[in-house]
């Protein structure tokens, strides 16, 4: 099943009279259960593409569909509703709410979805166990290491059972062992739960994990390879 479809998406940022093209007509499709990496140098449009797929932003031209629904022209709150039910995010910085414990951070999407207390407790503990953070459930982010925070962020992204998880440079602020651990957990959860992961990176050690690699340059898709089968770089 197709989770995301991007059709000829363009994103232009205007600063005064200067127009910057972040994306110049990107088309792609992500199927359910994929573990896909977006690669390319800085400024190639990886983050912009993730933001369009995540309903955080809208294309200047073209269309974005999430599970068949056109999200290109939704209102702000409609996009919030779309994200809440369908999309989880993992950011480069360990984007936890500093005043909440690991447990409460993971619980937040469930609260926003209006789930009952017993169900929330079960789900949160299950996820914290899955990322190996159950023992540190009641620690605040400032009491956790970077790797630990990112693992909590993964649990949070999965909490509301989204069909798509978008990760923007999830290992960029981690050392190698922690980065590997985070990628292992993401891959394992992808295999176990079938949830689709799309992650942007320019770290070759991370690209290794991807089963599909989409390469961007100057706002265009220049290569789209399934693992092991490399297309020649344009």
């Amino acid at each position: 099943m197709e989770v995301v479809r991007v059709e000829n998406a363009t994103r232009v940022y205007r600063t005064g009279k200067v127009e910057t093209y972040a994306l110049r007509g990107v088309s792609l499709s992500i199927e359910s259960g994929e573990f896909t990496g977006l690669v390319g140098p800085s400024g190639s449009g990886k983050t912009t593409l993730l933001q369009l797929m995540g309903c955080l932003d809208q294309p200047t031209e073209g269309r974005v569909y999430i599970k068949g629904k056109d999200v290109s022209r939704l209102s702000r709150n409609q996009r919030a509703d779309m994200r809440r039910g369908n999309i989880g995010f993992i950011f480069q910085f360990f984007a936890l709410i500093p005043t909440l414990t690991a447990y409460e951070n993971v619980e937040m999407p469930l609260l926003l979805n209006g789930q009952g207390a017993a169900e929330r407790r079960k789900r949160v503990m299950e996820l914290l166990e899955a990322v190996g953070m159950a023992e540190r459930a009641h620690h605040r982010p400032d009491q956790l290491s970077g790797g630990e925070q990112q693992r909590v962020a993964i649990a949070r992204a999965l909490a509301a059972r989204p069909s798509l998880i978008l990760a923007d440079e999830p290992t960029a602020n981690l050392d190698t062992p922690n980065g590997q651990q985070v990628m292992e957990i993401m891959r394992r959860l992808n295999q176990e739960t079938g949830v689709t992961f799309v992650f942007a990176t320019h770290d070759p050690r991370v690209i290794r994990y991807a089963r599909r690699v989409i390469t961007l340059r100057d706002g265009l898709v220049v290569a789209d390879d399934v693992a092991g089968v490399r297309s020649p770089e344009a």
Binding site: Q51, G54, R83, L100, M108, P109
Partner: protein, 405 residues
Amino acid sequence: MIQLYKMAWRNLGRNRRRTFFSMLALACGVALLLFMAAFVAGEMRDSLQSAIRLHSGHLQVWAASYDEDRTSLAWEDLLENPDALAAQIAARPEVRVATPRLYATGIVVAGATSTGVRVVGIDPDSPASAPFREGMVSGDYLAPDDRGGLLMGRTLAEKLHLSPGDTVNLLVNTANGDVDEQRFVIRGIYSTGIPGYDESTLFLPLSKAQAMTRAENHASVIFILLKDQAQTDAVAAALQGPAYQVKTYRQLNALLSEFEEYANGMMFVFYLIVLGITVTVIVNTLVMSVFERTREIGILAAMGMRTGRIMALFFAESSLLALGGIVMGVVLGSLIAAYVQKHGIFLGDFGMTGILIGERIYAYLTLKDVIMLSAMAFVITLLASLYPALLAARLEPIVALRAEK
């Protein structure tokens, strides 16, 4: 909802000192306003009670044609055989005391200075005259048969540099329209604690006042004090008759009610100004907090928090701040008001005519004022926090997520 308040509570806890000072600003504003409200309420309550005690009584009975403003002494405007009428009224069970009084306007001349006064003929032995008897500061009180002595208020005596035993000339209007002049000895000096009253009121025994003004067996009013103020209207209705006018303390102190209304209106404006100022401190705190937490707001938005809920988070914070500030303010304000309720504040001669304001004002804090002011502070704080809440809700998630911290 509970989670929202939990988050709000923890957010406020991040910068405890700033939170405390924001609350303190609101607390100071609320405390100040509570004290002001208590002060004005105390002043109004005391003025009314003083007016009843000294000047209006709970009720007065007048002749049908009597006009208070003219202080007429014509017999047809006065009550004939007032002692009998007073005794008849005093026989009613609700009445504590009923006593005739005669009012005349006069001029007191001491050496080269003279000043206008209100001459009041009283029954010195009546319980209604107790405030003057008990307020004696020097000399002797009046005897009912005193023919050559008067009581003068302290403020007037000081102004004219007079002491007990000194003599003054008193000119009064009479019933037939003439002016009579006699020499009086100042028997004693009294103080009611209300400078405006003491400066303008001289007392003579009723019989002497009647003789001097040719009012003979007449009085201007029957001054009535009731056992219970709440029975005023009922007794007034019972006393009503074609030959008399019956006036209640509310009618007799209309100026005071008007002043109270005016004072309350002014206070309301004052409340708005003070709360407006204190609330800017809270708004400032919340706006700073929006800027500090930009990225965090972006994360919540990315998770699918709708704009309304983001606003609700800031409203939760401002309502907690408001609540804390208001509780502190009510405690502080009540303590100050309680102190002033017990010890009073010395104002001295306020120099206001028409309203009896004492030298010392005692605060009077009412539950109504506490509730009204607390509610007002709360609502104004919430209204003002609309701005930071909108600021937070309008942040574009992608911009917010890009923020440094």
